[in-house]
């Protein structure tokens, strides 16, 4: 028992020492002067969480400081985002992994206490994941046009991972643009939604690429189109929605994006340090491998450009939510 206590004591001393050392080296570069908190506005598990933990792990090396991931789930991502918008003492060391929930949440949750565009500093878009329009392997539809034609005649059901998810909103956007009959069938997460699609209970879905990629490869699902602006290098034979060229589908360019944001009071110094560190992280082989596994492209926009992108997204989903009647 004594040995055990001694070992614990030693370990505690060691980690305390390591902590002071990391703080002292960090203070030479001004920012960060403290541990950095990376807030994940969702519960553990899921793409946002896994991505945040991967990025935090790599950021630690680049920033030479502890990056602590903190899950603050609630009301889509709006509880954590509202808290970030309030600022406070540690606002200069708090960043948040934002995702489509940021812009869609602004469209569907009433009485938000923050402005999704003006109240935040947009640091860097980290990755973009395209959505894929998929049908079961035994589906009679081999192209988007065939599907649209059929959906004008008869009612189709599309599965998604929950009201307000990017998968749901993509389906609603498709329905609006093509003026077809489609029923939204919600599930609790993509894991629960997939069997309904594989089993043929619903006719189509607009799932995130990583969720369905292996099923497309194994032939259980058929990809009709990807929603990104360019064809995905993982599915080079699958056209983009924009390529379809009919039924207003040229306006159907959307990705599940993930990026880091902070409170407006985030200092210039911190912003620069973060951008530099993120640029390094995004070059790292571990990061690129991870992005490849997700079927994702590294993010393209940062700073003002990122903010502009968010503003457009908010406007777009606002219109879709209005039309679909998803607003309280």
């Amino acid at each position: 028992m004594n040995k055990l206590i001694n070992a614990a004591w030693l370990a505690a001393c060691g980690s305390a020492l390591a902590l002071t050392m990391s703080v002292s080296t960090a203070s030479a570069n001004d920012w960060p002067t403290d541990d950095v908190r990376l807030v994940v506005p969702y519960a553990p598990g899921g793409t946002t969480d896994v991505l945040a933990r991967r990025v935090a792990d790599l950021l630690q090396d680049e920033l030479d400081a502890n990056v602590i991931v903190e899950n603050r789930p609630g009301a889509g991502s709006t509880v954590a985002t509202a808290r970030l918008a309030r600022g406070g003492r540690d606002a200069d060391h708090t960043i948040l992994m934002a995702s489509p929930g940021h812009t869609i949440g602004a469209a569907i949750y009433p009485d938000l206490t923050y402005d999704p565009v003006e109240d935040f500093l947009f640091i860097q878009n980290i990755i973009d994941i395209p959505n894929v329009m998929v049908v079961p392997a035994n589906s009679p539809y081999n192209s988007v046009l065939e599907f649209v034609e059929a959906a004008k005649e008869q009612n189709m059901a599309f599965s998604h991972s929950g009201v307000g998810s990017s998968i749901h909103m993509s389906g609603e956007l498709f329905k609006n643009l093509t003026e077809t009959n489609m029923t939204s069938v919600p599930f609790a997460g993509s894991g629960a939604a997939l069997p309904a699609l594989l089993g043929g209970d619903v006719q189509v879905s607009f799932e995130n690429m990583p969720t369905v990629y292996s099923h497309i490869r194994s032939g259980d699902l058929r990809a009709l189109a990807v929603t990104s602006a360019e064809r995905s290098e993982y599915l080079p034979d699958v056209p983009t929605m924009a390529e379809i060229g009919e039924h207003n589908l040229d306006q159907f360019v959307t990705t599940a994006w993930f990026g880091l944001i902070a409170h407006n009071s985030f200092s210039q110094e911190a912003h620069e340090a973060m951008q530099e560190a993120l640029a390094a992280v995004m070059q790292r082989e571990e990061f690129l491998d991870f992005a490849e596994q997700l079927g994702a492209e590294p993010g393209q926009v940062a700073g003002e450009e990122f903010k502009q992108f968010i503003a457009e997204e908010v406007e777009r989903w606002d219109a879709v939510a209005e039309q679909a009647g998803i607003r309280q």
Binding site: P44, D49, A56, G74, N155, V163, G191, S214, Q293
Partner: protein, 502 residues
């Protein structure tokens, strides 16, 4: 033969054994602390696996998962606070046993039953994954709907004492489960504009409040409990008890396997279904809920039976059935593997190495669990006046830790008061819990079926699985009515004969 040596080459490394051992230890410890769930531990451990070999990485996470599933039963038995939601059912008999001085017996039974169920679940994963995955795919919303209907009938058997009170509690549970955003339209229900309630009421604060707090309040109301002369922890499980519970353990494990293979039902429901099944069949029916060792066995078999089986849809279909397997899926992806049919073609040796590791984890669970019992059962001997303030502190911390939100502490206190009222009014809390867990599944699948079937009701009788569960549901209700009528008739006859006699 070549594949065999390749599998051994991948598996036989110290890293793998260490990963499983460390995982199981972390799981048991974290699982036993209320508010710290296995889910959280798996998420926190994920970054540490980035730099590990893929097999060791996955085994570490699987070890935590399995350890956590068992660990939660320790505090459920000792202080009436389930470490994880899946262990809520274990306290129904586990805590009364601890109070009667049989803490060690309950803990041991929970461990043995967990390990056996885990083993059976692993066997199912290794040999029947393909069949069970097919079954999972044929489970659409209407099939789910009837499965939940059947599961709801277990309220009848859990409503010990008064049927009216049991149903009342269940309805209250269902009502409270409706708080939050509507799943289809996204509109707010019963949230009173409060953001904290939009994602429904958090389960863990509810659980801690409902079970742990009333016990503490009761203690301070009475001020003193009789001192036990003997050591409270007592002795282990006898061979006869083990033999008696074996059937329930095996049945519970199989229930766990089937529930685990179907994405989205979860270990908590499996534990309750297994428990009520055991109760229905046991000759010691009357003792269930009062400290029946078979009850502990059935509950733990149910939830641990799920642990291996949730890997079935994950590995064979690439579909995570719960949050933990979703995180494990993330770990696979970080290592460049995508679970699903393709992985069985491309990475077969790796999958076999994983299987060996998973089997090994059952054995390790037995070893680590036995050690844990040795130290934890001391808790049963601590005087309540010292223990309860500490428990209260853990309760507050546990409620807060789930979402890092003080609102959850208030929620827990409110449920504490509700639990206390339940205790005083002899309203059973278990049906409340069942209502709260199954209520949303009932509603979601009903509405989902109607959406899929374009409001055509024939979707509810679309195939053999729906018929099977309709028959089970009807049978279960009819049996309950028959028993009720028979009991009434017996009572009347007894009254008549006693009148004649006088």
């Amino acid at each position: 033969m070549e594949i065999f040596s390749e599998v051994l080459h991948i598996f036989l490394s110290l890293d793998n054994f260490l990963a499983i051992a460390v995982g199981v230890v972390i799981g048991v410890v974290v699982g036993s602390i209320p508010g710290l769930t296995a889910t959280m531990a798996v998420a926190l451990a994920l970054p540490f696996t980035f730099s590990m070999q893929p097999v060791a990485a996955i085994l570490l996470l699987v070890g935590i998962y399995k350890g956590g599933m068992y660990g939660g039963s320790i505090t459920a038995i000792l202080i009436r606070t389930p470490g994880s939601p899946a262990n809520a059912c274990t306290l129904l008999d586990g805590y009364p046993m601890a109070q009667q001085g049989h803490a060690k017996k309950a803990l041991k039974m929970s461990l043995y039953s967990s390990c056996i169920a885990d083993f059976i679940s692993n066997i199912a994963l290794i040999f029947f994954a393909a069949y069970l995955a097919k079954l999972a795919l044929s489970f659409g919303a209407p099939e789910f709907f009837w499965l939940i209907c059947f599961s709801l009938t277990i309220i009848i058997s859990l409503a010990s004492g008064s049927m009216i009170k049991g149903l009342l509690a269940a309805l209250m549970g269902i009502l409270l489960s409706m708080v939050g955003l509507d799943v289809v339209y996204g509109s707010q229900r019963l949230t009173f504009g409060n953001y904290n309630l939009m994602d429904t009421i958090s389960f863990i604060p509810l659980l801690i409040g409902l079970f742990a707090l009333p016990e503490i309040m009761e203690f301070y109301r009475k001020k003193a409990l009789p001192h036990l002369k003997t050591k409270a922890s007592g002795v282990g499980v006898t061979l006869a008890e083990m033999k008696r519970s074996m059937k329930s353990i095996v049945r519970g494990s199989l229930i766990g396997v089937i529930i685990g293979a179907i994405p989205g039902t979860g270990a908590t429901a499996a534990a309750f279904i297994s428990y009520s099944d055991a109760r229905r069949r046991s000759p010691n029916k009357a003792n269930f809920g009062k400290g029946e060792v078979e009850g502990v066995a059935a509950a733990e078999a149910g939830n641990n039976g799920v642990a291996g089986a949730t890997m079935i849809p994950l590995l064979s279909l690439g579909i995570p059935g719960d949050v933990i397997t979703a995180i494990i899926l993330g770990a696979f992806m970080v290592h460049g593997l995508s679970p699903g049919p393709i992985m069985f073609q491309e990475n077969l040796p790796l999958i076999y190495a994983l299987f060996i590791g998973i089997m090994f984890s059952s054995v390790l669970l037995l070893v680590v669990g036995n050690m844990a019992i040795k130290y934890f059962s001391v808790i049963a001997d601590i005087p309540k006046s010292i223990l309860f303030p500490i428990v209260l502190m853990f309760c507050v911390y546990g409620a807060y830790a789930v979402n890092n939100d003080t609102f959850d502490i208030w929620l827990m206190l409110a449920f504490g008061v509700l639990g206390y009222i339940f205790n005083r009014a002899a309203i059973p809390a278990a049906p409340f819990l069942i209502g709260f867990i199954l209520g949303p599944m009932f509603e979601d699948n009903l509405r989902r079926s109607l959406l899929i079937g374009s409001n055509d009701l024939s979707i509810f009788v679309r195939g053999p699985i729906t018929w099977f569960f309709i028959a089970l549901t009807a049978g279960s209700i009819l049996l309950a009515i028959y028993r009720y009528v028979m009991a009434q008739r017996m009572a009347r006859r007894a009254a008549d004969t006693s009148q004649e006699a006088s």
